[in-house]
């Protein structure tokens, strides 16, 4: 193939990356505009506009296959999830932001671009590039609170991330060298029969674990969630996590290891440990965000189930992801509203007066995170358990069974901590009446919070809406 043909090919493929292109373009425009105007509304408009265009293109995707000399793969799964990622990023406009508006939205957009590339990556290089792009944006975003704590957690996050990316890089190198293939699509289980290639694969998987905060790479999560700006955290908890999971799935689905392969067993074990860690870790947290952070680690462990098996249960995974995105964004939105009134710790919810609507919505979201009907979190958990059960039935693997049992018990334990906020607000409020804090929450915020709860309710009764 000569150069001209290649260029023609590239040009024709560009239409398939129109969403990413529009986002990059939007990000650049935002940056430039931000230099001149600091009007929040204007910047938000550009932000929404570029997301809108991107989502338009993501809805319009029609041709599937490999593009840009096999470095990207467009599939049904990818395009669907890119809609979800873009959609959850749109929710960011709900969060009020006073400072660093330009930079913030710019970084968010680049993080989103990285994520979109991540779920489409087919070549090892694209994997590394996209992961790093997401990471760099996150490092800077986590620093954006400009407090002592923010700095500290950012530098730790960065160091941790750098070590992880080194592991990823080593892994990619080993995979590349021992299998001789540079593209995910040509990877095969038969290629991974030497110790070197298996080590490489494990390192790659570990590198991706960092993005999805799977045990033992979850350690950065609570600190960052605690001290980064809340809107950034809301994105962290959804976009990089889901895209990392899909990347992992792309890797594993091409390789097609059987359930009793030791790498798969290690992965399942890590998933179980994640569930346990997330659940146990959350119990003693007094800071709301840290608690939710550990909860989200636990949820990574649940979501993880869907991607590690050979067959992807598309609808169930999709439903869980959508529900999780809504729950997570909703939870952080409400935390955001309360933090504006300087309520940061669980016990402080006891001092709030007359915010029944907010707290009821919050309770809905938290209960949905636990997974109790009639909220869509339950349906998601139900799919998860069904899926595990089915997997167990077909594989007869004891690890899968223990995963199922651990998930079930983790659900009970999750009640311990997720209920803490309603516990403080509803059950402890009478005791501490004397130091009531007056909180001011705008009506619009109340409506939005209620909407989150209502959507979760609605999705339980009519799950067809998203599937």
């Amino acid at each position: 193939m000569n150069l001209k043909d290649q260029l023609v090919q590239i040009l024709s493929d560009l239409s398939s990356v129109a969403q990413e292109s529009s986002l990059i373009l939007g990000a650049l425009i935002l940056l430039v505009t931000g230099l001149i105007f600091t009007n929040e509304a204007l910047l938000k408009c550009i932000f929404i506009l570029s997301l809108g265009i991107a989502s338009y293109y993501s809805l319009k995707v029609s041709s599937f296959g490999f593009i840009l000399s096999n470095s990207l793969e467009i599939s049904h799964l990818n395009s669907k999830f890119s809609q979800l990622l873009i959609g959850s990023t749109v929710l960011l406009v709900l969060f009020q932001r006073k400072k660093q508006i330009t930079e913030f939205y710019f970084l968010i957009l680049s993080l989103l671009v990285g994520s979109l590339f991540m779920i489409k990556a087919n070549s090892l290089l694209m994997v590394y590039l996209s992961v790093e792009l997401v990471s760099y944006a996150s490092y800077i975003l986590s620093e954006f609170s400009f407090t002592k704590r923010g700095n500290e957690s950012a530098i730790k996050y960065l160091l941790f991330g750098a070590v992880s990316s080194a592991i990823l890089l080593i892994g990619l190198g080993l995979v590349y060298g021992s299998t001789g293939s540079f593209y995910l699509s040509v990877l095969d289980a038969s290629l991974f029969n030497s110790a070197l290639s298996q080590t490489g694969l494990l390192f790659v998987i570990f590198g991706i674990f960092f993005k999805t905060s799977i045990f033992p790479f979850h350690i950065w999560t609570p600190a960052v969630y605690q001290s980064a700006p809340v809107d950034a955290v809301a994105i962290f908890s959804v976009v990089p996590k889901l895209s990392g999971l899909i990347l992992l799935h792309n890797f594993l689905s091409h390789i097609q290891l059987s359930t009793d392969h030791w790498i798969v067993e290690v992965i399942i074990l890590m998933g179980m440990m994640t569930v346990i860690t997330g659940t146990l870790g959350a119990i003693k947290q007094s800071d709301t965000r840290r608690m939710i952070a550990f909860g989200s680690i636990g949820h990574s462990g649940f979501l993880f189930v869907f991607v590690i098996s050979n067959q992807l249960l598309m609808d169930a995974f999709w439903f869980y992801s959508v529900t999780y995105a809504i729950m997570s964004m909703g939870a952080f939105y409400i935390i955001h509203c309360f933090e504006a009134n300087s309520i940061e710790r669980n016990s402080q919810y006891a001092f709030i007066n007359n915010q029944v609507l907010m707290l009821v919505s919050f309770t809905f979201i938290l209960i949905s995170l636990v997974g109790i009907p009639p909220l869509s979190g339950f349906t998601a958990k139900f799919f998860l358990f069904s899926y595990l059960w089915d997997w167990y039935q077909s594989s007869q693997s004891h690890l899968v069974l223990s995963y199922l049992l651990i998930s079930v018990f983790a659900t009970v334990a999750a009640l311990f901590y997720y209920l803490r906020i309603p516990y403080f607000y509803f059950l402890q409020s009478n005791i501490m009446k004397k130091e009531v804090k007056s909180t001011e929450i705008a009506l619009s915020a109340k409506i939005i919070a209620t909407l989150f709860g209502v959507i979760l309710l609605l999705l339980f009764f009519v799950p067809q809406l998203v599937v």
Binding site: K156, F160, P216, H218, I219, A223, I276, F416
Partner: protein, 632 residues
């Protein structure tokens, strides 16, 4: 249909009149009127001589039936009659009590349940009324619930009954399980041993046989007319009635068992009655003793004799109790101290003439002197026992002999009671209380006293049976020339003589009586305490309560925390024991939360402060996983 209405009227009239009385002003009059109508209708029923039967599907597989034959109809008349007399007596006796409305309502309820018990031949329905009778008894024993120790007595007596009732219920259900018809039909099929014994034990409970007899003493805490009706004449006889009904179905072994228990009870109670000072307790023991006779009669196969004794006993014992009620009422007003202790009485003949006359009549019947009803019925039981002994031989003679010997004891304590209460001079200073024996008080007494004469039951003063028994359908036994009547007369007379020599007015014993009140000998103390049965019940009760405390302790300290422990126990290491020690006091949720938190901290701690530790932790994990793979 008209018969059904008749039966329903007889059954519900006492209850209705009691309830109406409860909400109206004239409770006693309404009750008396209601019960007398019920009595009249039951006479109609008795003279009708028909067998009446109704059936009613209660639940699937259980058809309740009402079945009235001659036995029931006679007993219904009896119950109605005695109830009527007691009601009349009570209408005066309870006049001053402000809870009289409640009293008559309870009594109405009792009469209703007792009649119901007599009307059915289905064991389950019988059990229903059996329990209701027990409830009525409980309510009436606890009638003066504000008094010291009365509530406890009521509860104890109900509980002991309840235990026996449970045995009865278990027996009935076992019969059901073994496929027997729960209706006591006319064709006797022998039951299996276990249910028969359980049913017999149930009957023992209500009839105060060993080892349940203690409840009857506790029951004496109730008003005395109640004791006359419930704890002497009717309810306690229910057990005997049940045994009479089921005796054709019982295997011989069980009958022997019944005979032995009956005999022992009668003897034991007679011994106890000799040493008690409390007039009601003496009467209670005498009731137990007489019930023992009846049970003995059933055991030896003389059910007709038992039934006869049941009827005669109902009259004279009710009379005795009502007489005792008058005495107590008098003492209560005249002496104030301990109104029931015979040691303080004496010489009451002049004060209570009508009471004294009727009381003596009834006492003689109880003692079993010829010319009195008690002689007839008791003699037929003794005869039955004798026949049984000759038929069975060996150990059965002991039963028969013991029964005859008990006659002597009976005569002894009866004479002692009468002598101590009515003869001699008052042993304590009585206030100048003028007691007026009103008509309403002595009319029932006189009636009952008169019914203690032989003439109403058999024209032959030395006969063994009665036209009533014949009417009920039992064959008349003609046992001429037996020595038993003479033997029993001899026993009675010697009992009287002994008692008179000991307790005659002015005798040494009666003058020093108050001083040496406590018996010295071991047997005496034993008998005074009612063979320690009360202590036995108390011990059992305490044991159960201690068991319950242990269960509660177990629940609080082990089960409650243990579940939390189990739910997470799989991940808890060796620290658990120490943690349990520490957090047990703070309650289980704390405990589990603390354990979870402990583990949580270990996981969360790694993500805490030191960035390098985190990285080390990460790398160690990676190396561990790789090492695991390489080396295994």
């Amino acid at each position: 249909m008209s018969e059904l209405i008749l039966i329903l009227i007889i059954l519900f009239l006492p209850l209705l009149s009691g309830l109406v009385g409860f909400i109206s002003k004239y409770s006693s009059i309404i009750s008396i009127v209601g019960v007398s109508f019920s009595f009249l209708f039951s006479l109609v029923l008795a003279f009708d001589r028909k067998v009446i039967r109704f059936e009613w599907l209660w639940v699937e597989g259980v058809v309740f039936s009402i079945h009235i034959d001659r036995i029931s109809s006679v007993l219904i008349v009896l119950v109605n009659l005695i109830s009527l007399l007691v009601l009349i007596y009570s209408s005066r006796y309870m006049e001053e009590d402000n809870g009289d409305k409640r009293y008559f309502a309870f009594l109405g309820f009792f009469i209703f349940s007792m009649l119901g018990l007599l009307m059915t031949n289905h064991l389950l329905l019988l059990f229903v009324f059996w329990e209701l009778v027990g409830l009525a008894s409980y309510l009436l024993i606890g009638f003066w619930y504000q008094k010291e120790s009365v509530p406890a007595s009521a509860r104890t007596s109900f509980m002991i009954n309840r235990i026996a009732d449970t045995s009865l219920l278990a027996g009935i259900i076992l019969l059901f399980r073994d496929g027997f018809d729960l209706t006591i039909g006319s064709e006797p099929i022998l039951w299996t041993i276990l249910p028969s014994i359980l049913i017999a034990v149930g009957a023992f409970g209500k009839s105060a046989q060993l080892p349940f007899s203690g409840w009857l003493l506790k029951a004496m805490a109730g008003p005395t007319p109640v004791s006359a009706l419930i704890h002497a004449a009717t309810m306690v006889a229910a057990g005997v009635y049940l045994l009479v009904r089921v005796s054709p179905f019982l295997p011989q072994e069980v009958l022997n068992f019944i005979a032995i228990i009956g005999c022992l009870t009668s003897c034991y109670a007679a011994i106890c009655a000799i040493v008690r000072h409390d007039i009601k307790k003496v009467l209670a023991f005498s009731t137990i003793s007489q019930l023992g006779y009846m049970v003995l009669g059933i055991g030896v196969g003389a059910a007709d004799a038992s039934l006869f004794h049941l009827i005669t006993h109902a009259f004279f014992k009710a009379g005795l109790f009502l007489g005792a009620a008058s005495v107590i009422n008098f003492m209560c007003n005249a002496h104030k101290n301990d109104s029931r202790d015979m040691r303080y009485m004496g010489g009451l003949t002049s004060k209570l003439p009508w009471t004294c006359r009727s009381f003596i009549l009834c006492s003689l019947a109880l003692a079993g002197l010829p010319l009195f009803s008690g002689f007839l019925s008791k003699d037929s039981i003794l005869l039955g026992a004798w026949l049984f002994a000759t038929k069975t031989g060996s150990w059965a003679y002991i039963i028969s002999d013991l029964a005859i010997f008990t006659t002597l004891l009976t005569a002894f304590y009866v004479a002692r009671m009468v002598l101590l209460v009515f003869f001699g001079t008052p042993r304590t200073n009585l206030t100048n209380y003028k007691y007026r024996e009103s008509k309403r008080l002595y009319f029932p007494l006189v009636i009952l006293g008169v019914f203690s004469l032989f003439i109403f039951f058999n024209l032959n003063p030395l006969g063994h049976s009665s036209y009533l028994i014949e009417y009920m359908g039992f064959p008349i036994q003609h046992l001429e020339g037996s020595i038993i009547p003479f033997l029993s007369i001899l026993m009675v007379i010697s009992g009287f003589v002994l008692a008179f020599s000991w307790f005659k007015p002015g005798a040494k014993y009666t003058t020093t009586y108050l001083k040496n009140s406590q018996p010295k000998s071991g047997l005496g103390i034993f008998a005074l305490e009612g063979f320690q049965l009360g202590e036995l019940y108390r011990r059992v009760g305490i044991a159960i309560y201690k068991l319950s405390l242990a269960a509660a302790y177990l629940d609080r300290q082990v089960i409650d925390p243990m579940l939390h422990f189990v739910s997470i126990g799989s991940v808890v290491g060796s620290k658990v024991l120490a943690l349990i020690e520490r957090f047990m006091v703070n309650g289980p949720v704390n405990l589990s939360a603390s354990i979870l938190a402990f583990l949580g901290k270990r996981f969360a701690g790694l993500s805490a402060r030191d960035g390098q530790t985190q990285i080390i932790w990460l790398l160690v994990m990676v190396i561990l996983i790789l090492g695991w793979f390489i080396f295994f």
